[in-house]
């Protein structure tokens, strides 16, 4: 999961895109070490030290990871897309906003 998330964040670094987590770990200090070790640079809400309460409860999350993709207007557009399908979903929403998501080298020369 982390390598894919890292590459998604890196690939879309200069695009109107954000990856935000809601973390349900129990040990916050241990988690901070994980962030460093796994180069997790994107922000996450702290769910309060477990999976049972907090934001995860409001969003009725019972399995992890659970993923929502939200468009630029704040509308939920996809759920639980993973791997290449997640990239495709995000790219489609960026394209809707008129953003060119192709890698620089494959764009027509200006």
């Amino acid at each position: 999961m982390y390598p894919h998330e890292r590459s998604l964040v890196k690939r879309l670094a200069d695009k109107p895109f954000a990856l935000v987590g809601i973390n349900s770990d129990r040990d916050r200090e241990e988690l901070k070490k994980t962030l460093e070790k796994e180069s997790i640079t994107w922000p996450s809400w702290w769910n309060g030290g477990g999976s049972s309460g907090g934001i995860a409860k409001t969003w009725n999350v019972h399995s992890w990871p659970t993923i929502y993709v939200i468009d630029g207007k704040g509308v939920i557009r996809f759920k639980n897309k993973r791997g290449p399908a997640l990239d495709k979903a995000v790219d489609a929403l960026l394209v809707e906003m008129g953003v060119d998501t192709r890698p620089t080298e494959s764009r027509p020369a200006k």
Binding site: F17, V20, N60, V61, Y68, V69, D71
Partner: protein
């Protein structure tokens, strides 16, 4: 005594087991005799315990993998004996069938057990646990069982738990049926078709929007009529149904995502609306 019991099980000779337990010289057992299902449960628990001890002792990942593949106690080993009890007039017959349903409702024995529970034990309070066990099932047998329990059971708590479980089943069925028809994500479609290969006919006939509407109506009714009753995994049915209704009404595709506020891992305030104007992936995760 444990060993003699295990050997008897291997030989499948229950009569001999009973004798071995009574054999002179064995320590007197003052505990009340277990009913037949509780005795099988104890055997199964012992097998799981023995497996986890061996697993913890295994030193390499390869050893662990080999153990998992070869020695993990498969519940279906016990299904034939339980099914036999389930078909008998034993007072724990319904419990035996529920045990099978709990372990694997979608197996052949599980489906047979569901049928027997309906035909022979329709008034049993044990249908409550069977209903809980079907929340993750996708099969016409599971749906039929829950509909019948909901309509015919004389017990309010069975009706309530069956209604709640049916709502969950309908939501899952709607979701999977939609994914099978979705051409935009061929990998997901292929996976789902593989996972539910045996149920493609059943799923193909599902009207997802209609199933979701029925699920929503069921949840509303459960919340209103049976809200104070306990849910299968703790909490009240009102809490559970309320959370599901919130998800269906506010977190479906096409809904504006509800605001999220709170502090991040480092204690800094963070709001979902801070990211407005951007495409946002919201990922519920844990490092475990």
């Amino acid at each position: 005594m444990k060993r003699s019991l295990a050997l008897c099980v291997l030989a499948g000779a229950l009569v001999l087991c009973a004798r071995a337990q009574d054999a002179p010289g064995s320590r007197p057992d003052t505990r009340p005799p277990l009913d037949k299902v509780a005795a099988i449960q104890a055997e199964y628990d012992d097998a799981v315990r023995a497996f986890s001890e061996a697993y913890q002792k295994a030193e390499t990942d390869a050893e662990k993998q080999k153990l998992s593949e070869e020695k993990y106690p498969k519940a279906e080993t016990w299904f034939p004996r339980l099914l036999e009890i389930g078909k008998s007039k034993d007072p724990v017959a319904a419990k035996a069938l529920v045990w099978i349903v709990n372990q694997d409702a979608d197996s052949a024995a599980g489906r047979e057990s569901l049928g027997l529970l309906l035909s022979e034990h329709a008034a049993s309070p044990d249908l409550k646990e069977a209903s809980d066990a079907l929340v993750y099932s996708i099969s016409p047998e599971a749906e039929k069982f829950l509909r019948t329990a909901m309509e015919k059971s004389p017990h309010d708590d069975v009706k309530a738990r069956a209604s709640y479980a049916l709502a969950q089943v309908l939501r899952r069925v709607a979701n999977v049926a939609r994914r099978i028809k979705d051409d935009s994500d061929p990998d997901d479609r292929k996976n789902v078709e593989k996972w539910y290969a045996a149920q493609l006919g059943y799923l193909g006939a599902v009207d997802s929007a209609k199933a979701e509407k029925e699920a929503e109506d069921l949840l509303v009714a459960v919340k209103e009529k049976h809200g104070t009753l306990e849910a299968g995994w703790g909490g009240t049915l009102a809490d559970r149904a309320g959370a599901d209704l919130f998800e269906m009404r506010n977190l479906a595709i096409g809904n504006v995502a509800p605001e999220i506020t709170g502090e991040d891992i480092f204690g800094k305030e963070l709001k979902l609306s801070d990211f407005k104007g951007r495409v946002v992936v919201v990922d519920f995760w844990g490092h475990w």
